[in-house]
């Protein structure tokens, strides 16, 4: 435990020192080294322990979930550092602090400590989203801020209710009490906690701040937010599902966000906002997996890491494309990308469509392995829809004559994605069956067919505004509380 906490402390300290030291990226690089060393020392995990004394303190634990998220966060931080190394000012120190806070979040096993780390994560994200001072990004950031504050208010009420009834904030102590929802106050509290985490995590209908914030942020920030930060809300929900019987609520949220994000992604024309809606949709896989628990939660963890890698790659390539051409619309970018960027987009799209042999295939295979038929059908439908919405990116994959000063980030992520996929093949023999491959390819082809069918359809989806997003989030929270209270 001491190594993990030490790693977090060094990470945060280097983030603070980074404000004073030049070159700006230096402390970020040192922090990554410290993080890798700390991870190597505490892997493969440590049992739950109480930090800060005997009896009173914050519970922390290093489980596989924390391990996977640490590895992902460190890789993504390295890639963003490569891409944004020339950026002056407070960017790199803030980024280091943000990643350090994420590392702390995944270790935490305490309701209130989760609140504190999640708030810190958001606070640093707000600063980074609006970092370039473009008014659209600042407005997106302010929307994020307002909705996150709503979420955290609900979460705090939930903390009060649960603590008032159960007398503890430690998630494992709550799980050990095993009282379930014998007391309606605990059920309401659990509903508020889940709603707060869902708003924070950008789950569809709760956290509609996510698409503009991820879409309009600077490239490196979009990568970090979509690959790492968005997982923090999911982790909070997964931890809650371990302690309180809210697994079915998490599955319901997963189905909702899976399809909701997908519908918007199908008709979105702005490249980065399109990718952001996909992030909303893909949260669904993780929430369903963590909500079901058992083997599925192992698959959900693999999916969370794989999603971080390929979505990081997609956002990085998209950001490079937008930076070089100055265009954001998918249709206008066709044939104008330099080849490394186009390759990055191609590999990312290949992985997100779940095609072998990349990480997306491995993770989806692990997630769907032991599911019941209705849940498998949901996941297959989501896969087909994902492939369908990515079909419109295909014209972008033909590289044009554009030249760009490419960073090595795209190549690093491609190598990691392929490595992850191959590791999956080595460790899971069932993925080598031809049937699985045929299934994946069939899903992608079905998606292309769906794309051809839907190409002429132009529905008018309701515009997402701040007022609507807030109202919908609150109504969703009320529905969630009522659902948990009456349906268990």
């Amino acid at each position: 435990m001491i190594y993990a906490i030490g790693g977090v402390v060094i990470y945060l300290a280097l983030g603070v020192v980074g404000f004073l030291v030049r070159p700006r990226w230096l402390c970020g690089a040192l922090a990554i080294l410290a993080g890798v060393a700390s991870l190597a020392l505490w892997a493969p995990g440590f049992p739950e322990a109480i930090l800060g004394g005997t009896g009173w303190g914050i519970s922390v634990a290093g489980d596989p979930l924390a391990l996977g998220m640490w590895a992902l966060a460190l890789v993504i931080h390295g890639v963003v550092l490569l891409h944004e190394r020339a950026r002056p000012g407070a960017f790199h120190p803030l980024l280091t602090l943000l990643v350090g806070t994420c590392l702390a979040t995944v270790l935490s096993r305490d309701l209130f400590n989760l609140y504190v780390t999640l708030e810190l994560v958001s606070l640093l994200s707000f600063l980074l989203v609006g970092y370039d001072g473009k008014s659209r990004a600042v407005w997106a950031s302010l929307q994020y801020l307002i909705l996150a504050m709503v979420g955290m208010t609900l979460y705090l009420l939930g903390v009060g209710l649960v603590y008032g009834k159960l007398g503890t904030l430690s998630l494992s102590a709550i799980a050990a009490l095993g009282s379930g929802f014998s007391d309606p106050a605990v059920a309401i509290g659990a509903g508020l906690l889940v709603a707060g985490a869902a708003i924070k995590g950008g789950v569809f209908l709760f956290g509609l701040w996510l698409p503009p914030a991820h879409g309009y942020a600077p490239t490196g920030v979009s990568v970090t937010l979509s690959a790492v930060v968005v997982k923090m809300g999911v982790i909070a929900l997964a931890r809650l599902a371990e302690a309180l019987p809210v697994g079915s609520a998490s599955v319901a949220l997963g189905v909702l966000t899976g399809f909701g994000g997908l519908v918007y992604a199908l008709w979105e024309r702005d490249l980065k906002v399109f990718l952001a809606f996909h992030t909303v949709s893909q949260l669904g896989y993780m929430l369903i997996g963590f909500g079901l628990g058992g083997e599925a939660s192992h698959g959900a963890l693999l999916y969370a890491v794989a999603h971080g890698l390929f979505k990081g790659l997609l956002f990085l390539a998209a950001g490079q494309a937008i930076e070089t051409t100055g265009e954001r619309e998918i249709a206008r970018l066709a044939g104008r990308l330099a080849w490394p960027t186009a390759l990055g987009l191609a590999v990312g799209a290949w992985a997100i469509a779940g095609l072998p042999p990349l990480a997306g295939f491995t993770a989806k295979g692990a997630l769907t392995a032991d599911l019941l038929l209705p849940m498998q059908a949901v996941l297959v439908a989501l896969s087909v829809g994902t492939a369908a919405s990515f079909a419109k990116v295909i014209p972008l994959l033909r590289p044009g004559p554009t030249r760009e000063a490419s960073s090595g980030g795209v190549m690093v992520l491609i190598v990691v994605l392929v490595g992850f996929g191959l590791w999956g093949f080595a460790s899971r023999p069932e993925l080598r069956q031809p049937g699985k491959w045929a299934e994946a390819v069939g899903g992608a082809l079905g998606g292309y067919g769906l794309y051809l069918l839907l190409r002429r359809v132009r529905p008018r989806l309701p515009r997402i505004t701040l007022d609507r997003a807030t109202a919908v989030a609150l109504l969703g929270a009320a529905a969630l509380v009522a659902g948990i209270l009456f349906l268990g």
Binding site: S135, V150, L156, L157, V159, G160, G164, D467
Partner: protein, 112 residues
Amino acid sequence: MDGMAASALAIALVGLGLWTLIRRRNVIWKLLGLNVAAGGAILFLVAVAHRPHAHPPIAGLGPGPSADPLPHALVLTAIVIHFATLALSLVYVIFLTERRHSQDVHKLEEEP
């Protein structure tokens, strides 16, 4: 004030604040509403700490039961975090007012 009354007041504050957040079009009003709501949540934590006939959780205040000290510690943290978030959001409002010359949500939502 006993625990139930404080809880009821806290929940009323949260409701009022969230109502202001949704109904008002001006961003500053929205932030004020949020602040009231968060104040309600914080007050709720204080209400949770209530024990009948207890004195404040300070060492040396005499015999008898004290209120639960843990929620009080949490409240301090929550207030600080909330202060930071609110300050940052007001900075963003100043920025947007200078750039877009408006604090009206409907105007801010149009493409710049």
